[in-house]
Assembly symmetry: C2
Homo-oligomer: 108 residues x 2
DNA sequence: TTCACATATAACTATTTGGTTATATGAAAT
DNA sequence: ATTTCATATAACCAAATAGTTATATGTGAA
């Protein structure tokens, strides 16, 4: 079970995910977007890979990274559900909205 | 700005928050609900306090802990917004629902 | 006043994290 | 075949985390 708090718990990793939202990227592009070293970026990518939030593949000598939207969805729902439960009804009905894809409330 | 990822990034802290959802608790009650030492629990409580997710007060010799729902709300919105942006429109419209307290979508 | 008990704090340990530099590997191009 | 360039990995460092045990502090009750 991917640990979404670990994956999203660092702002560099959140920025990497935002980049990947715009489309697949090769490692070099990601490295160049930050001021830290290539090994540091690679460590962040490894954490995102461990948590299954992204995937990697080869294209010749290039490493290609892409988002795993399904895993993100599931992670998102987990957090939404947990925090939603800590808060109150207003937010719980909205959790149902996400899960069922429809807006259904008591007051029709 | 409270770091909700830090606060929620540990399952003991998530369980503590769930307990506090049920009502204010004294430290002793929280300690007894876990298998770890009192100082260990106190450290978790300190992290939740640093991130402003909970508050503490005194009642005689008892420390009382309570949830800060407003801060949780804000944290919730932040995460909703960030992850919503990584995913797609379905989820973004729901962010608006939370923020405006109403369901308004393009396709009325 | 003394004792009991709830809480706080200090000192220590092991692990993880986020970074570094230096170096190895492997594919592509010259 | 050699060089270039993208990537991987190793070794290191400092700080934070999650726990421990031992001890101090403060309040209430006997």
């Amino acid at each position: 079970m991917p640990d979404v708090y670990r994956a999203l718990g660092d702002s560099t990793r959140r920025r990497i995910l935002s980049m990947l939202k715009q489309g697949n990227k090769i490692q070099k592009e990601i490295v160049e977007a930050f001021d830290i070293s290539q090994p540091a970026i690679k460590k962040h990518l490894n954490i995102l890979l461990e948590e299954k939030i992204i995937s990697e593949s080869w294209d010749g000598k290039y490493r290609i990274y892409s988002l795993n939207p399904e895993v993100l969805q599931i992670a998102y729902h987990e957090m939404l559900q947990y925090i939603g439960e800590l808060l109150d009804d207003q937010l719980v009905s909205l959790k149902n909205y996400v899960e069922k894809g429809e807006f259904r409330d008591e007051q029709d």
